[in-house]
């Protein structure tokens, strides 16, 4: 048996630094913000940040300056993930406003429809599909090329999936006519047409162009996938439509904060999907241990144990909702538990989701511990295997 080795990677977004947020909002960048840029440049060993610092200190930051701020924010994100020790990286989606808005801004056929409450005093903007969606051209290729020119690490590019785009949008086009008193079949038919069009006309051409530019791993993000349990098969069909005809690239699917039992057996129909990246740490205990009783959050892994032909597992080992920094030993035990249940060849390691709600300090500590914990898990498993030979 070859030595056990787990691949580590990010999932999605990191917080945007205050100097970026303020510069783009047209608000004054304060000296403390500049000091943060300098501190992180030193920590990440980033060279050439003098031009950024000089720009941030200007009284007015012009359009060209914003491009430079945008680039540097992307480089900081990339460097943070590299420096934390991850094998597979991106830039923490620094150039993207938010996963839904990023698509809507670049797609045709959508119009903003105002603010809706998420909960309490938290709100989100929601758009409506008003005509058949499309894109003028791929919109993530430049982002990918910029990063690929600046790293030796493997890059994994995230794309918001068609199910989530549709589920988070109003439909003023496909289901517009005859909605009142329509049959369930009519409503489902309209929704399916909407979703498959988004997959084919928005997600696929953008992802295909990024692969064409050299990317060898695309990640489809579908946080909404289990929102309507009876529509999981439709979400699977939309994933397949999104990646149809895209050659030579690893495909994976990220789903978080969902009832994973709803995914099975439908995910077995995903076309050539390498892996499901799922959230577990959010549900787990902080106690050490590698027995099932120690790892209640990882109970959904039995779904994978029961389906050997299921995609691999991208094992979420960091809770992105708390500032609790998981000790490396806790990460180790989570990985060991999963590897012993499924076999190490079916497991890779990532956070539950993007770390955008955490400060960079917390995100960095968490990720660094994730990498350290992964090495500890490899040692433990290799030691156990050596002992059993």
């Amino acid at each position: 048996m070859t030595d056990v080795k787990f691949e580590t990677r990010e999932i999605g977004s990191l917080a945007k630094p205050p100097w970026r947020v303020k510069a783009f909002a047209g608000r004054p960048v304060e000296e403390g913000d500049v000091a943060e840029a300098e501190r992180w440049a030193q920590k990440l060993e980033l060279d050439g940040t003098e031009e950024l610092v000089e720009t941030l200190r200007r009284e007015e930051i012009g359009k060209d300056d914003l491009r430079l701020v945008d680039d540097w924010s992307s480089r900081y994100g990339l460097a943070l993930l590299e420096r934390a020790g991850l094998d597979v990286v991106y830039d923490g989606e620094q150039r993207r406003t938010e996963m839904y808005d990023h698509v809507i801004r670049h797609a045709r056929g959508f119009e903003q429809r105002g603010t809706v409450r998420s909960f309490d005093n938290k709100y989100y903007s929601k758009a409506a599909c008003v005509e058949e969606p499309s894109i003028d051209g791929p919109y993530d290729v430049d982002e990918y090329r910029f990063l690929s020119a600046r790293t030796d690490h493997r890059l994994k590019v995230p794309f918001t999936g068609p199910y989530t785009i549709v589920d988070w949008s109003y439909d003023e086009h496909y289901g517009r006519h005859g909605a009142l008193g329509a049959t369930a079949e009519q409503r489902a038919g309209a929704r399916r047409r909407f979703m498959l069009d988004v997959a084919e006309r928005v997600v696929r051409p953008n992802a295909a162009a990024v692969v064409e530019a050299g990317c060898d791993w695309i990640q489809i993000d579908e946080p909404a996938l289990t929102t309507r349990p009876d529509e999981v098969p439709l979400g699977v069909e939309a994933f397949n439509k999104s990646v149809e005809g895209i050659p030579s690239a690893r495909r994976s699917l990220h789903v978080c904060f969902s009832d994973y039992s709803l995914l099975f057996p439908h995910v077995l129909e995903l076309d050539d999907c390498f892996e499901l990246q799922l959230e577990f740490a959010n549900r787990d205990s902080h106690e050490l241990g590698t027995d099932g009783a120690d790892r209640p959050g990882y109970e959904p892994l039995f779904l994978f144990a029961d389906h050997e032909d299921a995609p691999n597992v991208g094992l979420g080992v960091l809770d992105i909702h708390t500032n609790f920094v998981e000790p490396a030993e806790l990460v180790r035990d989570r990985i060991v538990y999963a590897a012993e249940l499924l076999g190490p060849e079916r497991v890779s390691v990532n956070p539950d989701c993007g770390l955008r709600t955490r400060s960079w300090d917390v995100a960095y500590e968490k990720l660094a511990n994730m990498v350290e914990g992964t090495r500890l898990a490899e040692e433990a498993l290799n030691r156990a295997h050596a002992g059993s030979r």
Partner: protein
């Protein structure tokens, strides 16, 4: 033929900003209160202009359908953040801390505002309020909702029920017992929001001890309404989860085909799932549809 709008109304952009600012420490609670009053005044004006028959306060202070009642009760509290049905919005699920919750005192005017003419008030149905708590709905009805209802003056109290259509007809008996415990107060209507009521209608929804039954006609086929329906039908004919604006004449024609004598045109659930400018237009169209249908009936 009537028209009115139960449930939680969306906040204006100004109120959205004020509440965001409050969370970030950039404004005061008093400033938010002032904006809340402006929103309420505007909502009343919009409803009057639309010609709605009963006014609603839009529950502008309610964070979700349950929160004020949970915070005003002993034995119930706001629980984990939970996705509301299949929307991208969330609520604090009621959690029980005792077997017999009790309302400490009825909600005051901040949560059921006095209005310049006859009003409707919306409360959660006892089944919804008890959902997931492990406490029978009739216990929640007697201990929490009944004292609240007894303190209310309203032309109609609409009990919002988002869960029963998904749980199935098995919950009807529990709900019937709970509604019995609410008798003797203001007239009640039970509104099945955002769900297909077919199975419930087939199993006696229309016989529940309430004055009115609400049906979402964006999830329920018109043909599923039972023959001889003789209660007030709260016809959910404006889709509160769609930004598309309904055609009033289409609504009027649809309601005409239902063949029900007493109808109130309502949204199919809380309008808070669209933005405030869209909700405002939907209210106007609700009123226009009511007028169009009334003219057809008179003719």
């Amino acid at each position: 033929m009537q028209a009115f709008a139960p449930g939680i109304h969306p906040r204006s952009e100004a109120l959205v900003q004020a509440t965001r600012d409050l969370d970030r420490g950039r404004t005061s609670a008093e400033a938010v209160d002032e904006q809340l009053q402006r929103d309420l005044d505007e909502l009343v004006r919009v409803q009057q202009e639309a010609g709605l028959d009963l006014l609603a306060d839009g529950m502008l202070r309610w964070q979700d359908l349950f929160r004020p009642l949970l915070e005003a009760s002993d034995g119930l509290e706001p629980g984990p953040l939970t996705r509301f049905l299949d929307t991208n919005s969330f609520y604090r699920a009621p959690t029980a801390t005792s077997a017999e919750p009790r309302l400490r005192e009825p909600l005051d005017e901040r949560y059921a505002a006095p209005l310049p003419s006859s009003r409707i008030v919306t409360l959660p149905s006892p089944y919804a309020l008890a959902h997931g708590t492990g406490i029978p709905a009739k216990v929640v009805a007697a201990g929490v909702l009944k004292p609240q209802l007894d303190a209310l003056e309203a032309e109609l109290v609409v009990l919002g029920e988002p869960f029963l259509a998904r749980d199935g007809a098995g919950g009807l008996d529990e709900l019937r017992e709970a509604l019995d415990a609410l008798a003797g107060g203001p007239p009640l209507a039970l509104q099945i929001t955002f769900g297909d009521a077919r199975e419930l209608l087939e199993n006696g929804l229309a016989e529940l001890p309430v004055e009115g039954i609400g049906v979402d006609f964006y999830a329920t086929h018109a043909g599923d309404l039972p023959q001889g329906f003789d209660k007030l039908l709260l016809a959910g004919v404006v889709d509160a989860r769609s930004s598309a604006l309904e055609e009033p004449q289409e609504i009027a024609d649809f309601v005409g085909r239902l063949g029900v004598e007493r109808v109130a045109l309502v949204p199919n659930g809380d309008l808070q799932y669209v933005s405030e400018p869209i909700a405002r237009q939907k209210l106007a169209r609700l009123g226009t549809a009511r007028t169009a249908r009334a003219k057809e009936t008179a003719a």
